[in-house]
Symmetry: C2
Subunit: 255 residues, 2 copies
């Protein structure tokens, strides 16, 4: 098996004073991450059992377990007792809109709908290029849409995606998609969004934003800028959203 860790590497890395020392379970974790990135196991599928992986990598079950524990803590994998360990997906009901922190003030479950305003391929704006590690000569897909909750326009959102990765993403294919974009990205483009950084501020609605959200110019909006990453911390999406927070709020847990 090519994946098994060579005894030399194992011994070298575990010896005292080695500069490149990293614990065995971290090496296993890295190997699992590679497999996930390669798509060896797809979102929603089960990965091999702990005992199988232990045999494959020639380590004990406990070491594999510790590697999986960390990946599960990062929400890359999901353990299910008696069934197996599964690759996280944005398709499941439980985790849909996993990254959306906006909730109704009264806690009821809102009905969501989305209207695409435009979907074009453009030269990468400089600020977006910096966030996505692209050149401004590269092209990005720019999606603009309005999300409504309970029929009320609430989020105006601009999305930028690397054109080279999202081949075949057009206004037409986009229009056919129902449900969360992240789920669609997984199945159609093989891109799993794994974590995201957000930065928030309060802004006054521009005339344009006010039109789309059916409010008056100058109303305070919550601007949420998000950079989403796939495996290996590679940025794959920038979103800039304007949230109307009169009946909704952005919730966050600190610890």
């Amino acid at each position: 098996m090519t994946e098994q860790i060579s005894p030399e590497r194992k011994a070298a890395d575990r010896s005292a004073g080695s500069a490149a020392y990293s614990p065995l379970y971290q090496q296993i974790k890295a190997l699992l991450l590679e497999s996930l990135d390669r798509g060896e196991w797809k979102p929603g599928e089960a990965i091999p059992s702990e005992l199988d992986l232990a045999a494959r990598y020639q380590v004990s079950q406990g070491t594999v377990r510790k590697a999986i524990d960390e990946l599960a803590a990062d929400n890359l994998l999901i353990r299910r007792q008696g069934k197996g360990t599964f690759v996280s997906t944005h398709h499941e009901a439980r985790v849909r809109y996993r990254f959306l922190r906006l909730t109704p003030d009264d806690g009821h479950q809102a009905v969501t709908s989305s209207v695409i305003i435009e979907c074009t391929r453009v030269k990468t704006p400089v600020d977006i290029a910096a966030l996505l590690n692209l050149r401004s000569s590269d092209t990005v897909v720019n999606i603009r849409r309005v999300l409504s909750f309970d029929g009320r326009p609430t989020i105006l959102e601009d999305i930028w995606l690397p054109g080279s990765v999202f081949k075949g993403l057009t206004a037409e294919t986009l229009a056919k998609n129902k449900g969360p974009l992240y789920a669609w990205f997984e199945s159609k483009f093989g891109v799993s969004m794994v974590r995201a950084d957000e930065s928030l501020r309060a802004l006054a609605a521009s005339e344009e934003a006010a039109n789309y959200l059916d409010i008056t110019e100058g109303v305070p909006l919550l601007q949420v800028e998000r950079v989403s990453f796939t495996y290996g911390d590679r940025p794959m999406e920038v979103r800039r959203g304007l949230y109307l927070t009169d009946r909704f709020h952005y919730r966050n847990q600190l610890s």
Copy 2:
């Protein structure tokens, strides 16, 4: 030792079909939490070594380790290899302003200062009473202050604390305190804030807020409402802050 788990309990809980079954390490975790809550080990202090705790509770080191792992993951404890495991504190430089998510847009380290506007004891407003599990006949301490970064007023904040817990908190004692409030709460009132829920929205500055923040009325502000909890998920503080986000933003990590 009164803390050791009785063999009966251990056996009963571990037998199949027991309704109240919980893993041993969860029971250990609960016992550790009780000790933390009781103040047996104070913030910043080391707790006993894993081997000592294993002997005390009559379980293996591995079981204690798993209990501590979870408490460390929740930021209640901090492991330091070669030194021991320590109770989290808001006093350390590394974790000061642990709950403050506002950062300068350009990433530089801002100089912080605080001005108290008022500090009074009042009957609990109904909305605060609900959040703190108090009656409106109970009294709360209400602190109002302005935080400045680099000399620029940036946060106007109202704070409510249960009067029965924060005895001796007055404008005078408060004025003598330097540094983060949470650190002060730990040392003077024995209250450790362990986690917090925040809910954010965009608002227009009232005339009063505009005066304090040295801006014009109507400027969009980020309103951050925070409920902070001690051990045992007991709410101990409500904060309502208005953040000026023209040169700062609220950052958040999603996963």
